[in-house]
Symmetry: C2
Subunit: 458 residues, 2 copies
């Protein structure tokens, strides 16, 4: 059976690519109101595609962007998995840094460039093609599959909790499967055991009702741009330690076993820096680079704007400044506690004469999986067959805010089975997907469904 499926996948690859290109051409940027219609169009396209491969599928409205639900439930008595993905994407700007149009899929060698190629359209589409391979060769799936594809992952999934609440029975499952994460590196197929949480803010500063002439008023008027710098400099010290009081109180220390498993992974600092174009690795003292990215919390400025940013000189004291800043959280930090501590601290460090407005965009807790679940063994075997290489367990620094909610809600484990590579520019210009990994991923998913079906119950 596996051979027949592998052959089907190989024989239909050219058509599969063309279909994936159609999906990637839709600019479903969930954070932008001007892209609302395109985001809905992406949901409709996805549901229609699910139907063409043999699933039942519908587009269901929410308060925000719609959710696509698809399912095949022809194996009563066999386990049911729920595959989660998202059809929305990050904004494409700065567009000038893309080498090809972000919404025109462009293949160079084994790389497919497009916004959403790896995060997450390409990844959930690999599941659809694995499902298609079973249905078109055997006429059935080896177990029951439900898919939930949302359109708000990149903005913190605001409508999903209510949606899950409303459709909880219909979505009941024995295992959650998500392919929205990364491989450790090319050649090492990976199961991700943990994710960081997030806490994301925008700070709006105002020092005056309008911009002022820096000659006439410089020296006496507060400057929102200077205030922004002073605030940023107090968020972290120069050794990377976050200065928000109480921030580290609930951080779960790294265990000796985890530390040993991370240390056993091949990691070449210079190659890592070269790959993503860094001149130095920085961060919290006393931790390795993998620890800093996977099990330690951190803080980053995500955006900054104040005063005159055009060509040449303008002698102005900016009245306003904007800082986007987010923290990555680890077990057992509580986003609500962090939110309160951060806001109180930022209010305290805002300089005299400057008004502060704090906007809170999203918060989610971190997640750690238990690898003793039998599905994890099946996934390791499927990965090793699909990729023809030894699989590894890792963690990931990013966040999938909904993982905790869904595992708790359904009382199931979550298997994070990602196809991304660290340098694929998710959220950045020139995002791409490695087509070798995609090909291996489709095979892996198809084999994985088969192995789960053989397991019977779990």
């Amino acid at each position: 059976m596996a051979n027949k499926i592998d052959a089907y996948i190989a024989a239909n690859e050219a058509r599969h690519f063309q279909e994936m290109f159609e999906l990637l051409r839709i600019p479903s940027v969930s954070s932008q109101k001007t892209r609302q219609a395109e985001t809905r169009r992406c949901a409709e396209w996805t549901a229609a595609h699910c139907r063409t491969i043999g699933l039942k599928a519908e587009v269901i409205d929410t308060q925000g962007h719609p959710v696509v639900l698809a399912e095949w439930l022809g194996k009563p008595g066999k386990p049911t998995i729920l595959i989660y993905g998202h059809y929305d994407v990050q904004p494409e700007d700065p567009v000038k840094l893309w080498n090809s149009p972000p919404f025109e899929p462009t293949v160079k060698g084994c790389k497919l460039f497009a916004r959403g190629a790896v995060d997450d359209k390409g990844q959930f589409f690999a599941h659809l093609k694995a499902i298609e391979a079973h249905l078109k060769t055997a006429g059935e799936l080896p177990l029951n599959i439900k898919l939930i594809l949302e359109g708000e992952e990149e903005i913190g999934s605001p409508s999903l909790p209510a949606f899950l609440e409303r459709h909880q029975e219909r979505l009941a499952n024995n295992l959650l499967v998500i392919s929205d994460s990364g491989m450790y590196k090319k050649g090492i197929p990976t199961i991700t055991l943990g994710l960081r949480g997030i806490s994301y803010f925008q700070l709006n500063l105002r020092s005056c009702k309008t911009d002022l002439h820096s000659g006439s008023f410089g020296g006496a008027a507060p400057n929102a741009g200077v205030a922004a710098g002073q605030i940023i400099a107090k968020l972290k010290d120069e050794k990377g330690k976050i200065q928000v009081p109480g921030f580290y109180d609930d951080v779960r220390p790294i265990t000796a076993a985890e530390k040993a498993s991370f240390d056993s992974l091949p990691f070449d600092e210079q190659a890592f820096m070269d790959e993503i174009g860094l001149k130095a690795l920085v961060g919290e003292e006393g931790y390795s680079t993998l620890e800093r990215m996977w099990v330690r919390p951190t803080l980053d400025v995500n955006g900054l704007l104040s005063g005159y940013t055009g060509e040449g000189a303008k002698t102005v004291i900016p009245a306003e400044a904007m800082i986007k800043v987010s923290m990555r959280l680890v077990p057992d930090q509580d986003p609500e506690k962090i939110r309160q501590a951060f806001e109180a601290y930022v209010r305290r460090i805002t300089p005299q004469g400057v008004d502060l407005e704090v906007l809170y965009f999203q918060g989610s807790v971190a997640y750690v999986a238990d690898p003793s679940h039998p599905a994890f063994k099946a996934a390791v075997e499927a990965l090793e067959e699909g990729f023809n290489a030894k699989a590894a367990y890792t963690r990931e620094g990013g966040s999938i805010p909904i993982v905790n909610d869904m595992t708790r809600r359904f009382g199931v484990s979550c298997l994070l089975l990602g196809l991304g590579l660290p340098d694929e520019n998710a959220h950045a210009p020139n995002e791409y997907l490695d087509l070798d990994n995609w090909r291996a991923g489709v095979r892996t998913f198809a084999h994985f469904y088969g192995k789960l079906g053989e397991l019977g119950a779990f």
Copy 2:
């Protein structure tokens, strides 16, 4: 004669306003390449207008924007004054904060709103109307007048030194007159005795070849936006003291006489704050607000840009950040020495893993006038006649980079006779000109020419 001139000015005011509106409609933004043709059109319009009032005028090309030269030299034996002004303006952005279109002059009460209304089109145009009043009533001027109106003041006058060098004999004069400064307040006509210099930079930071996902890499990758904040916070301490080593070495201390004269001016801190919309006055410890703005050097962030600045959240580690930063200099600071000290300091405080590029846009020394010159007495009398109020001597915190060059070159004094008010939003949205002051200014200038003519030689 003075009565006849005052009557002419009053009788022709409506037409004068219409002409000034034509001038203000031309978007002569010298810093923007896309406005190059409009900037030239402004020069052509100005020269043509000079001819209609009876001056000889021409537009002379430079390496950059052209210079308008105009003159009336019909009084051999009488002194010659050189009036300097500029027809270029600051960029109008942020346009959304304007209450009327920046290049459509809009009168509300005694306020004329438009980019360039006070800085400097309205001010040099008042001289043209005072000249017109003499020529149309008496058929001649009481002394010789040359006008030089440049198109690069707002970008640091890069082409003017070479222009002055080439046309030095033709521009020879006995007194430089500039109306590009402000009155102390409405009701107090003002002669400005000093200006601050400037040193303006752009810092370009790069921490990575491309933006990174803040989840995957946060904690290990340097962040250009965080670096920008850390650099800004080290430029000034929280008491407003600039941290560049050697920055204060050559600052001329304020004299007891100056201090006394500043202290004698009416200054209501609360009213000042209310007028420009401040919640606090900040600045260097140990100095009054007027001292901080007039005789002490300072540093301001003029612009800031990094990462994602659109709507909502984008979880990115910015690869780039841009800081525009300028210092206002006082006697006897040397811009070249300051440039070197600033650049060396900024290189030293740039965090590890971040590349720094320093762009230097402009530098000019500060200026102080000697009020014992006989023309200053004539100016005080003319101001008191024109405004019907007692005149004051002040300083100004802004810069007119070319003042030092011209006074040295021609071996003359410079009289800064400004019509602006502190709240007229020069360089900011909703720039305006007080039409009461403009009216009084035209009368003042006309009387001033008459008094200088009576002085004979100076």
